[in-house]
C-alpha cells in the first residue's frame, strides 16, 4: 500500500515546508512527523518523503542515517533511553540501566519480543543536575524525561506508570 500522511499530518507538513526557503531544509522536522505517523523510518518512508519534498532519495537517506533519533528499524512502544555519560554515571546511570535490563529481561540495545520495550544507552541529555535519568519516547512520538531516579522505589513507580500506558500505544511494527 502506498504511504500517505493523514489529513492532520498533511497540514503540519505543509506548514513545516512553508518555514524554509527550500524544501530540503524541512527534512529534519518532516522525518519526525513521518516517524510519528508511520512508526519508524523505513526505506519506503524515506522514498515517500523524497517524493513529497522533491528531493533525490539519496539525500533523504544520508540525512536519515546520519541522525540517531530516526529509527531505521522498528523500536518498542516505549523506547527507554538511559543516559550513562559522566554526570549520570556518577549518580547511578549504569545502575539504572541495569535495573531496566533486569526488569525487562533484555540487554541494552535490544527490544522485547512482544514489541513493548526497547532499551538504549545514550549520551548526555542535558539533564546532568537531575541524574540519574532516562528519556522515554513512545510510539506516538511523545518524549518525556524521568529524572532523579536514584532508588529502587522510584524506579518501580515509573515502570508501573509506563506499563499502564502500553495498552494505549500502537505497535510501531504495525504502523505501516
Amino acid at each position: 500500500m502506498a504511504l500517505a500522511f493523514s489529513e492532520e499530518s498533511e497540514a503540519k507538513f505543509n506548514e513545516l515546508v512553508s518555514r524554509y526557503p527550500n524544501t530540503r531544509a524541512a527534512l529534519l522536522p518532516a522525518l519526525f512527523l513521518a516517524q510519528e505517523e508511520f512508526g519508524w523510518i523505513s526505506v519506503e518512508v524515506m522514498d515517500y518523503l523524497a517524493e513529497r519534498l522533491e528531493l533525490p532519495p539519496s539525500q533523504v537517506l544520508t540525512t536519515a542515517t546520519f541522525y540517531t533519533m530516526y529509527n531505521k528499524q522498528p523500536v518498542g512502544k516505549c523506547h527507554v533511553q538511559v543516559c550513562t555519560t559522566l554526570s549520570c554515571a556518577f549518580r547511578g546511570g549504569y545502575e539504572l540501566l541495569e535495573r531496566f535490563e533486569d526488569r525487562l529481561g533484555i540487554k541494552r540495545g535490544e527490544s522485547t519480543p512482544d514489541g513493548n520495550w526497547t532499551l538504549t544507552e545514550v549520551e548526555c541529555l542535558a539533564s546532568c543536575g537531575s541524574a540519574p535519568m532516562f528519556q522515554l519516547t513512545d510510539s506516538k512520538g511523545n518524549m518525556e524525561y524521568f529524572e532523579d531516579l536514584d532508588s529502587e522505589e522510584k524506579f518501580e513507580t515509573v515502570v508501573k506508570e509506563l506499563e499502564s500506558r502500553l495498552p494505549n500505544l500502537p505497535d510501531p511494527r504495525d504502523m505501516h
Binding site: 540525512t63 556518577f90 542535558a126
Partner: protein, 439 residues
C-alpha cells in the same frame, strides 16, 4: 545573588506564558530597542562585556559588528540550542521556563542587525522545550511582536523552531547550519565564516541561547550595568550548571568571575558526605580536567585559561576520590568517537584509537609505552581537523594523562583498575553504603 535576571522566571508560576512575562516588564525592552538605532545597541552590547555562552567566549558585540549591513539575500539569525556538551544543562532551562526572554532577545537582535528570519536550533530530544518555545512564539505573533510591521515599525521578522535529529556535532556552528539545511551535520571549512556565508548562503548570525537571553536585560539597564556584574572582559550574570558528586546539583545564577569554590560550597552545597574532591571539569567535558588546588580560580575566560583549563559552558562536573580517571578518560573518548562526524581522518580514527588504548589500560592490558602513544595520538588530532571536535578529544585526554600519570601507571603495573567497580555506577543512596564499606 539577590536579584536574578537569566533565571528570574524559573520559579514563578506560569513564568513561561506571555501575560506573566509581560507583567514583569517583558517586551518593554523590545519597545525601547525599537527606538534605538543599530549602532547604539551594538555599542551597548560591546560595553556589556557579554561573551558567547556556547563555550568559545567570543565577545558578542564584536561578533555582531562583523555582520554585513547590506546583503542581497535575507540575513538569518540562528540560535544555537543544541546543548549537547556532556555536563552542560542550562539553555534547556531558559527555553522551558522563560521562553519569552529568549524570543524577546531574538527580536531585538534581528532589529539591530537587520535579520529577516530566525531559527532556534534545538536538539530534538528537548521536545518539552520545543513545545514551550512554539507555544510562546505563537503568543508573540498574536501580540504583534513577531511577523510583519512589528510594533508599527518598518521591520519584519519571522521566528521558527528547528528540531535537530540527534547529533552532538550539530552544536558546532557550521554543523548546525548544515542540519538546518536538512543535511548531515558535517562542519564546513572556515572561512568563509557564517557572518559572510551561512545558512542558505546568506549572512548568518550564530549565538547561543544564554547569549541571546542576556540582550533584553542589556537594553533595559545598559551595557555598563551588565559589565559591572563580572570581572574584566567578562560581564554579567550567567547560569552555572553544577553536577557530579555534590550535595545540591542544579542550575544556579551567579556573576561572571565567581570562584569555583563559591559555586561548589555556597551554591552546590559542597561535596557529598564522605566524598573528597579529586578533580573537576569547569565547562563541559571537552575542557581540561582541574585539580582541587585550583578551587579559587575565577569563572572567566582568561582566568580559567590561566588556571590551566577553560571556562567553556560554565557547567561544572565535580568528581570525588572514588573516581577512576582512566575510566573517565576512556568514557569521554568513547563519547567523542561516537559523535565524530567522520569527515576528518585524525578525528575519526584518532578518537577510536584513543578509546581502545584507554580501555586496554583500564582493563589491565596496558603497556607503559601506551602513555606516550596516547599523547602522540592527541598531537596528531589537534589542529588537524575541520572543526574543534578533534580538539575536544585531544585536550581532555591529554589532561587526564598529564595530571594523573601515577594513576595510569598504577593500572599498568597492577594489570587492572585499583578502583572498586561501583565507583562509576552507583547512585547516591547505594554509594553511601559502598563508601562506608570501603573504609
Amino acid at each position: 545573588m539577590e536579584e536574578l535576571f537569566l533565571s528570574r522566571n524559573f520559579k514563578i508560576e506560569n513564568g513561561h506564558t506571555l501575560p506573566v512575562y509581560e507583567s514583569g516588564g517583558g517586551y518593554q525592552r523590545l519597545k525601547k530597542a525599537l527606538n534605538m538605532d543599530s549602532a547604539t545597541i551594538i555599542d551597548e552590547v560591546k560595553k556589556s562585556n557579554l561573551r558567547g555562552r556556547g563555550g568559545a567566549g567570543f565577545p558578542t558585540g564584536v561578533k555582531w559588528g562583523f555582520m554585513p549591513k547590506e546583503s542581497e539575500l535575507p540575513k538569518y539569525l540562528t540560535v544555537n540550542a543544541d546543548e549537547g556538551e556532556p555536563g552542560t544543562f542550562k539553555d534547556r532551562y531558559i527555553m522551558e521556563l522563560d521562553p519569552h526572554l529568549l524570543i524577546e532577545g531574538c527580536i531585538i537582535t534581528a532589529w539591530t542587525l537587520g535579520l529577516r528570519y530566525g531559527y532556534i536550533y534545538v536538539r530534538g530530544e528537548l521536545q518539552f522545550a520545543i513545545r514551550r518555545l512554539e507555544a510562546a512564539i505563537k503568543e508573540a505573533y498574536a501580540k504583534g511582536y513577531l511577523g510583519q510591521k512589528i510594533q508599527g515599525k518598518d521591520f519584519d521578522f519571522d521566528l521558527y523552531v528547528h528540531p535537530s535529529g540527534g547529533a552532538y556535532i550539530c552544536g558546532e556552528e557550521t554543523g548546525m547550519i548544515e542540519g538546518l539545511e536538512g543535511k548531515p551535520g558535517q562542519p564546513r571549512m572556515k572561512p568563509p565564516f557564517p557572518a559572510v556565508v551561512g545558512a542558505f548562503n546568506a549572512p548568518t548570525l550564530v549565538n547561543n541561547v544564554e547569549t541571546i537571553a542576556a540582550i533584553p536585560w542589556i537594553i533595559e539597564r545598559g551595557g555598563e550595568w551588565w559589565a559591572s556584574m563580572g570581572i574584566e572582559k567578562n560581564g554579567g550574570p550567567k547560569l552555572y550548571g553544577l553536577s557530579g558528586h555534590i550535595k545540591k546539583p542544579g542550575v544556579y545564577e551567579a556573576p561572571s568571575g565567581v570562584s569555583v569554590r563559591e559555586l561548589l560550597e555556597d551554591y552546590g552545597g559542597g561535596m557529598l558526605d564522605g566524598s573528597d574532591l579529586k578533580g573537576y571539569i569547569p565547562g563541559g567535558s571537552s575542557c581540561r580536567v582541574m585539580l582541587p588546588d585550583t578551587l579559587d580560580a575565577l569563572m572567566g575566560f582568561e582566568s580559567m585559561r590561566e588556571a590551566g583549563s577553560s571556562l567553556g559552558t560554565g557547567c561544572i562536573t565535580f568528581m570525588d576520590h572514588t573516581t577512576c580517571m582512566v575510566r573517565i578518560a576512556g568514557r569521554l573518548a568513547h563519547f567523542y568517537h561516537h559523535e565524530s562526524c567522520g569527515q576528518c581522518t585524525p578525528c575519526r580514527e584518532g578518537s577510536g584509537w584513543a578509546t581502545k588504548v584507554l580501555d586496554q589500560i583500564e582493563n589491565g592490558n596496558g603497556r607503559m609505552e601506551d602513555l606516550d602513544l596516547l599523547l602522540d595520538i592527541c598531537d596528531n588530532i589537534e589542529g588537524n581537523t575541520i572543526c574543534a571536535l578533534g580538539d575536544s578529544i585531544s585536550i581532555p585526554v591529554r589532561s587526564y594523562v598529564e595530571l594523573f600519570t601515577q594513576e595510569f601507571e598504577d593500572h599498568i603495573r597492577r594489570k587492572g583498575c585499583p578502583f572498586p567497580a561501583w565507583s562509576l555506577r552507583s547512585s547516591a543512596s547505594t554509594r553511601a553504603e559502598a563508601v562506608a564499606g570501603a573504609e
